[in-house]
């Protein structure tokens, strides 16, 4: 199965080459790249990429299964939007305790070990670390909301 790195590498190669159209299918993964073409984003993956821009007028569509799909976002060469997802089921809290300041705000710079929120399960509060370096772009859930395993919580502009 293709990994994210594989896909990124493929996109880079196609982009840097003079190839105008490219398609690849492997298992459940299908990649189509068309340069200077209007490609309708038929996949949910592109819908979720808010404000994704490309320098060149190349668009990529990809059909990828499950978890891979959530992690694959295409944007600027310099930056990528990354989703921090829930590592467990639980109730999302933006602050360590009621009345305290939130762990992170939109625009805040974060590093690998920054605690971005807590998920409460069975009365225990579990710290969720960012695991990336970047900047918080959006907070996708509300304080007190119940979240599922894998549910996206934050959008991060990665450095």
């Amino acid at each position: 199965m293709l990994t994210i790195d594989d896909i990124r590498e493929i996109i880079k190669l196609v982009d840097q080459s003079s190839i105008q159209q490219f398609q690849l299918e492997q298992g459940a993964t299908k990649i189509s790249i068309g340069k200077n073409a209007v490609v309708t984003p038929a996949q949910p993956i592109l819908d979720e990429v808010h404000g994704a821009k490309t320098n060149k007028e190349a668009a990529v569509t990809a059909t990828v299964p499950g978890r891979l799909a959530e992690e694959l976002v295409v944007a600027d060469k310099q930056e990528e939007l990354y989703k921090i997802t829930a590592p467990m089921v639980g109730t999302f809290y933006a602050a360590p305790e009621p009345g305290a300041a939130a762990f992170v705000k939109i625009g805040e710079k974060i590093t690998l070990n920054t605690v971005v929120c807590v998920l409460e399960v069975m009365k225990l509060f579990n710290e969720v670390e960012a695991q990336v370096n970047g900047e918080i772009v959006e907070i996708l859930v509300k304080d007190g909301e119940f979240v599922e395993y894998g549910q996206p919580l934050f959008l991060v502009k990665i450095r």
């Binding site: 009345g99 409460e120 069975m122 009365k123 509060f125």
Partner: protein, 334 residues
């Protein structure tokens, strides 16, 4: 294997959940003022809920830790630090032998609880390790800790030893290692607004004057400086009986709000005497006793009426929460 007291703090004593079964002999219950925090501290280090811990009041001690330990600190935030760096509360913390644990500024609440995996090696008196300070009984030599006291520790049991080893193996140069999970502390009163304390009407509530009854529900009271482990004396509107009452001494309970002749109510707490002869205007709901215990002199409170049914419901919910917590922590420790 032990802990040495370098500075004792304001009032640091060994307490467990209290001495039960001896009130009819005039022996008071004592025990932790905030029993909820005590239980959480014990659960965090894999101890039985009712193990003895150190109760720390306002100004905390400086303790030399003479062996690797797993500890937990709950209650109010009295700024615990090791090597100048804050250590987290409400989660298990591994400290290396040779550390000095200190406390600093009070940030919230009034009392902290320090539990150690395995517990302190304290002989029981009348089936409890709690310190009965006035009678010089129980705890560490029947008194609060003093400079140069040495507290012996028991060895941790297997289940909390494994968490200790886990954390120990991941520790490097840092003075402490902790977990990425913790417990909530929502019962610690926030600064600023008067704190709501839920109470049921007491036996002599109706015997108070109309004005006094109104004042009791509608006015804030302030915790006076004459507040201690026996009880919290409140100042505010002086409460008066509608007519003089001949009171016959009878037993009191944790959280009984009694009104002596001067009209200033007293909330009876851990070191209360077993019987009393003052009119009882109210009874603090058991779930809010821990909140009262975290108020400091100067704090303002407002009484809010609840029914016995509601108080019991809250109590049973709290007990269930503690069971859930215990299971959750056990799972984490595997």
């Amino acid at each position: 294997m032990s802990i040495k007291v370098l500075r004792p703090g304001l009032l640091t004593s060994i307490q467990d959940l209290g001495r039960y079964g001896y009130q009819k002999h005039g022996v008071i219950v004592s025990g932790a003022m905030d029993s909820y925090s005590l239980r959480m501290a014990n659960l965090l280090v894999g101890n039985k809920e009712d193990q003895a811990v150190l109760e720390i009041t306002l100004v905390g001690p400086a303790l030399l830790i003479e062996k690797d330990i797993l500890l937990a600190i709950t209650g109010g935030d009295l700024s615990p630090t090791v090597g100048g760096k804050p250590i987290p509360m409400y989660r298990p913390v591994f400290l290396k032998k040779g550390c000095i644990l200190q406390f600093g500024a009070r940030k919230s609440g009034c009392r902290s609880y320090l539990a150690i995996a395995g517990g302190y090696n304290i002989s029981e008196v009348m089936r409890s390790a709690s310190t009965y300070l006035r009678a010089g009984l129980g705890g560490f030599e029947g008194r609060a800790l003093q400079v140069d006291d040495v507290l012996q520790l028991k060895d941790p049991q297997e289940k909390n030893a494994s968490l200790l080893r886990q954390l120990a193996s991941s520790s490097s140069a840092s003075s402490y290692v902790s977990t990425k999970w913790f417990l909530g502390r929502s019962h610690i009163p926030q600064e600023g607004e008067p704190v709501k304390i839920r109470v049921m009407r007491g036996r002599q509530f109706e015997q108070f004057s109309g004005d006094s009854k109104d004042a009791f529900w509608n006015c804030p009271f302030q915790v006076s400086s004459q507040s201690d482990r026996m009880g919290y004396r409140l100042s505010g509107t002086a409460l008066k009986l509608a007519e003089p009452l001949e009171m016959i001494s009878e037993a009191v309970s944790l959280g009984t709000v009694q009104v002596p002749p001067d009209g200033n109510p007293i909330i009876l707490l851990a070191d209360r005497q077993t019987v009393g002869g003052y009119p009882k205007i109210a009874q603090v709901a058991l779930v809010d006793v821990a909140v009262v215990a975290q108020l400091k002199p100067g704090s303002k409170i407002c009484f809010q009426e609840i029914s016995l049914r509601e108080a019991e419901r809250l109590y049973l919910i709290r007990e269930q929460e503690i069971q859930t917590l215990q299971r959750a922590i056990r799972l984490k420790m595997q």
